[in-house]
Amino acid sequence: MTSFQPESPSDGEAVLLLRLAGPIQAWGTRSAFNRRETGAEPTKSGVIGLLAAAAGLAREDPLDELLPLRLGIRVDQPGTLLRDYHTVSDYRGRPLPQAGVTAKGIQKPTSPVKLTHITTRYYLQDAIFLAAVAGPYGLLNTLDQAVRAPAFPLALGRRSCPPTQPVSLGLREATLEDALREERWQVSRQSGEQFAAQLGRDRQLDRPLYPARIDRSATLEDPDGDDVLHDAPVSFDPHLRTFTSRRVRHTWLSIPTSFPNPDDTTNGSDDEAGHDPFALLGW
């Protein structure tokens, strides 16, 4: 890969914000064979994979430039788990092929003959995340352009999960945590209204309550973090797929809701009702 360095206002770091939203998403960490799981939050391999696809890298290409990028995830709407029963068969009614090949280089049929594989695939439904990727300004500027004009169609962890627009929210010159803290809450107008109505009921008011800020959970990459995730990609080459671990810390961020006329009596820090104890569990 050739380095591409456009004119940058500063040689420093920048943060690229991505809105990861769509009806269904799937962020696998420990999936194999017939059971395809999803984690509760986007994985680093998923986000780096999305950026690599946008930039047009082949699976076998080295990821050198992308690997040092740091990732932060904010959970704007945790969504729920969807289990999809998925059968696989050949549409011509032939036996399914196996991975092995004949001397002539043709896939052998399964033996004994197998006509249907049953697989179970898990998705997150109705979830919305804000991902922040920190790294050199020039590289992120290129990736920002790539996400807006991707080489391959983008997907939220699995090909059948196209994202809704916009994906890229542009670059910010801030730290990972500040960029995630200052971006407005990414839920739909309707979900925001439902939240406010529920908050009003919780406080025994007979009207919706519109806080200026609410707390949302976040996972930030941090060398001194107290948790380890094993989802950092090393290579996407189908024959050498490898991952490594990275240190993260989990935290709560007080974020702006962008309600038009907020009731300023509450703010995120002491807003108990805005705290969702189940968010950490991903339910």
Partner: protein, 383 residues
């Protein structure tokens, strides 16, 4: 990192109303669903609709006629043999011709004199070239008859029998053990979701034994069938650049897009078809060609369409507004927009659709206009 190159994506948006049906069921036997925008929606998985698309596709695509386009395939194969060996073009061409003789192709026939295309995939040619790579020089030194004898031992035919290349170029193939057979799909298909909230309903049925004895009462069998009825939003996108990469042939790529749009629009999963007779045609098909990125417009339905009156028409209006909003907000005007719908001509819905997507066209007309546009696009790119 290099800056992005030009792309061409063909987005297909379809609204289709399905009567009470159960066309894609889970292991409980109930129609699949998902939550979106906080309410339950009917869902048809992408794999289910892809399967019906492929079946439809396979029924319509004629069997390969191997006697066409021989000059093109010979040239392409010659190039590949030259790339990997020390042979000169002339010797490589002789070798390519000998290899292709196995396909019973009569070399040097005039192009374009038949109705069929011979589709071959890039990977297939690579595989054939790889078969002779190590012994190319040794083979090229043989006399004609000896060469022909030697070539018959090489499994060329089988390479072209490994699936229909057009089908594989569109839908991809993943074979864990053999990277040479892997092909990245050019299409992306989303799960179809209803534009409105849907509840699961049950049909309680009893089956009566006609041969029942007088003294016995009761049913022979009882049970429940889960079903629902929905107006579905279906979305797929095709990357023309990826398709071209997979197929190597421009005309084949354009034809593949046309065939995919046709089969995706006209096919339907067949689950419980005999109990529900649910086959319908779309109320609306919109094809959008973009050079920036694919745009899925499912966000038009995050707020579910109210079930007061005319869900299909209200969904179409929401879709048009979402498309207009996306174009306004991002300033990315599509290169081509084609609309085909079945709403009443004088209605507000038809007016809004026309002002957003242009005049409605009959589906065959839409396809041929799309073809003209794509051929133009590829011509421009070649300059």
């Amino acid at each position: 990192m290099t800056p992005p190159k030009a792309r061409t994506y063909i987005d297909i948006h379809i609204l289709q109303t399905v009567p009470p049906a159960n066309l894609n069921r889970d292991d409980q036997g109930n129609p699949k669903d998902a939550y979106f925008g906080g309410v339950r929606r009917s869902r048809v998985s992408s794999q289910a609709w892809k399967r019906s698309t492929r079946t439809h596709f396979a029924e319509r695509i004629p069997k390969q006629d191997l006697a066409t386009r021989t000059r093109r395939i010979s040239t392409a194969l010659t190039e590949r043999i030259v790339e990997g060996t020390d042979l000169e073009t002339e010797a490589a061409a002789r070798l390519a011709a000998a290899l292709l003789a196995q396909l019973k192709i009569s070399a040097g026939k005039k192009e374009g004199d038949t109705a069929y295309l011979f589709f071959y995939g890039r990977r297939q040619l690579d595989a054939v070239a790889a078969l002779v790579r190590d012994r190319a020089v040794q083979l090229s030194e043989l006399e004609d008859t000896e060469l022909a004898d030697e070539i018959t031992k090489i499994p060329v035919r089988e390479q072209f029998n490994a699936g229909h290349p057009m089908d594989v170029a569109l839908f991809g193939r993943m074979v864990a053990d053999i990277p040479a057979l892997n092909v990245d799909a050019a299409t992306q298909v989303a799960h179809a979701l209803s534009t409105h909230a849907v509840e699961l309903e049950f049909d309680y049925f009893t089956a009566v034994d006609d041969e029942q004895k007088e003294e016995e009462t009761g049913a022979g069998m009882i049970g429940n069938i889960g079903f629902n009825s929905a107006t579905l939003y279906r979305y797929a996108t095709v990357g023309l650049h990826q398709l071209l990469h997979n197929l190597t042939d421009e005309e084949a790529a354009v034809t593949a897009v046309e065939e995919f749009v046709t089969s995706f629009a006209r096919s339907m999963p067949t689950g419980y078809a005999n109990s529900f007779a649910h086959r319908t045609l779309p109320s609306m098909v919109v094809v959008v060609v973009r050079t920036d990125q694919p745009v899925n417009l499912v966000s038009a339905f995050e707020e579910p369409v109210a079930a007061s009156s005319g869900i299909a028409a209200a969904s179409a209006r929401n879709l048009a507004r979402e498309h207009a909003k996306a174009v306004r907000a991002w300033g990315d005007t599509p290169e081509f927009t084609g609309l085909c719908h079945t709403f009443a001509d004088s209605s507000d819905t038809a007016e809004l659709l026309t002002s957003t997507f242009g005049e409605t066209r009959a589906f065959p007309q839409l396809l041929s206009d799309l073809r003209v546009h794509l051929v133009d696009t590829l011509k421009q790119a070649a300059r």
